[in-house]
Symmetry: C2
Subunit: 323 residues, 2 copies
DNA sequence: TTGAAAGCGCTAACAC
DNA sequence: GTGTTAGCGCTTTCAA
């Protein structure tokens, strides 16, 4: 039918007919059925985005980058949440793939075998985001959390701290926090230093947990001179705790978090952190799906792209000036 | 085909055939095509959720409530974000309706005429959430922001404050913040008091903005004795500012925010706030879509449901004890 | 318990 | 520039 052509601004249609159709559509309150359209054309303007959580702030920011980039490509992101559970990830992925999206963006490089198999067989661009320490299925955009931890270790040591504690989530599937801790340990090991203590939490208000954990770890290991938190929210809690207690930060005790969340800007003191390049990651991932990356003239390359971003250390004022 | 029956656990199929089909499916890495399925069955297991923003924390929490409830109904939420722009809302709604979802959950009661028309004609359950002050299209679940503001006015006056300032977003389309301010003004008016000053912001780190706005409004109106913030994040910023400056809270200056975000638990002092019942709203909205509300034995009632929740005042310790 | 056939509402290819 | 036709991959209905 000509109607189809008008509604999609396709092919040659006379202005008159066009107007007529548009009017009729408006008056009838006609909403096209994309299900039928997709079935007929074998094309779906949806991009599956699979992330572990929406309450982490990091992911909403990645989403923002994705949405912004996708805005004028005609593609629409569809979000699925896994709650850091591999089996949920598998289920969500299956569900989404059954709608035949144009591409998949998903967090992390660790997936169940079944999920990997689905991704490999999907025949659409797959972009794994956030992390580059591992074997991607197709494309990957992220930072090396291992190197981030290592870099932080160097900064800590350069500033003269020696008794370092790590505070983070207990979640067994937060692979990126784990890699940062491993990177930190490796960096310390190079200087012959061992992580002095560690403390984990799960659930609850991150800010409050940060306070509690800080109190706990300092009670247990009063000689610690640096605390590395796995995220900025618990780090901010720790900072507020130290200020309350009159602990000399960064003289007596140094602090650092991770992510570079904008929340930190309003704190009484600026927590040291490392920017995880969240919006940037989202933007690039979306570009890859949309086939908009420079150097890829339309046709997709087999094997995918590997983009490693470099997180910048933001020393803030909770870490002593080196030297 | 029999295959279809197996994959949907439908009708009578012999165990033998069933096994055979399941095996074949697994080996081929078969993922059913829901597009075709949906077209044939005229049923789609998707629920459209349309919200203004993901960075507001409030909406991710509503999402959590929705997801949790939908978990075992076979329905899947699909998120669309409007950035508080009516035309974006209209576009997102159009896009989503064209996938023929089983229901729509969307924030607020204010929509463009076109959007209203689409909603009315969609022939599926519509649930407007967050706010009950207005005319719903179908069902509605939320709180009265006007009454929330009014109740806050009463609490403020009862505690003896008289020179009240309001601080909020400049966004012209944040109708709920506007209604809270109007409620506040109405409550003050009953005691013959007029809002002493107000200050608005847009964009940026809410915590930081809260600090800046507080400084600005106090510089302009040093005699204010209470500040009512349109959300907890800017309120928290204001609280941190006051503590920095050594302002006596709540003696000299009372503070209150809105939402009851869990972040507040980690602050040095507990900001007074009012719980917006976010997860609860999400849960009930999802129940309505899933047809799970008690008293609705399957068949949906024309006209929809109206659920008004009552926000609780959490006085914290930034408001003087009354009397 | 299984197979065959029709058709969901569109798009693509081709004829007019 | 416009109409016609044959599917897209399923579900549904009905017959075997």
């Amino acid at each position: 039918m000509t109607v189809s052509r008008v509604l999609r601004n396709r092919g040659d249609v006379s202005e008159a007919t066009r107007e007529k159709v548009l009017n009729a559509a408006r008056n009838l309150g006609y909403v096209p059925n994309k299900i039928a359209g997709a079935l007929a054309s074998q094309r779906v303007n949806l991009v599956a985005v699979i992330i572990p959580s929406l309450s982490n702030m990091v992911y909403p920011e990645v989403m923002t980058g994705i949405s912004a980039m996708l805005e004028d490509t005609g593609l629409q992101p569809v979000v699925g949440v896994t709650h850091y559970q591999p089996d949920r990830e598998e289920a969500v992925l299956y569900e989404m793939l059954s709608w035949r999206p144009s591409g998949v963006i998903l967090a992390g490089l660790e997936h169940s075998d079944a999920a990997r198999a689905m991704l490999s067989n999907a025949g659409i661009p797959i972009v794994e985001i956030m992390d580059v320490d591992g074997q991607p299925v197709d494309s990957v955009v992220g930072i090396s959390h291992r190197r981030a931890g290592l870099k932080m270790a160097e900064a800590i040591l350069a500033a003269g701290y020696r008794r370092i504690g790590f505070l983070g989530t207990m979640m067994p599937y937060d692979h990126r926090a784990r890699k940062r801790m491993e990177g930190l340990q490796e960096g310390l090991a190079r200087a012959g230093i061992v992580l002095a203590d560690q403390e984990f939490y799960s659930g609850g208000s991150a800010l409050l947990k940060g306070r509690e954990m800080t109190e706990t770890i300092l009670a247990r290991s009063p000689d610690l001179d640096f605390l590395y938190y796995s995220n900025d929210m618990i780090g901010a809690g720790g900072l507020l705790y130290c200020l309350d207690k009159g602990i000399d930060v960064p003289g007596q005790l140094g602090l650092a978090g991770f992510n570079g969340v904008e929340l930190l800007d309003g704190l009484p003191r600026q927590l040291a952190t490392m920017d995880a390049c969240r919006a940037e990651i989202g933007r690039i991932a979306a570009e890859i799906i949309a086939g908009k990356r420079p150097g890829m003239a339309g046709g997709r390359v087999i094997g995918g792209e590997q983009v490693e971003l470099t997180p910048k250390l933001q020393p803030g004022d909770t870490i002593r000036r080196a030297g």
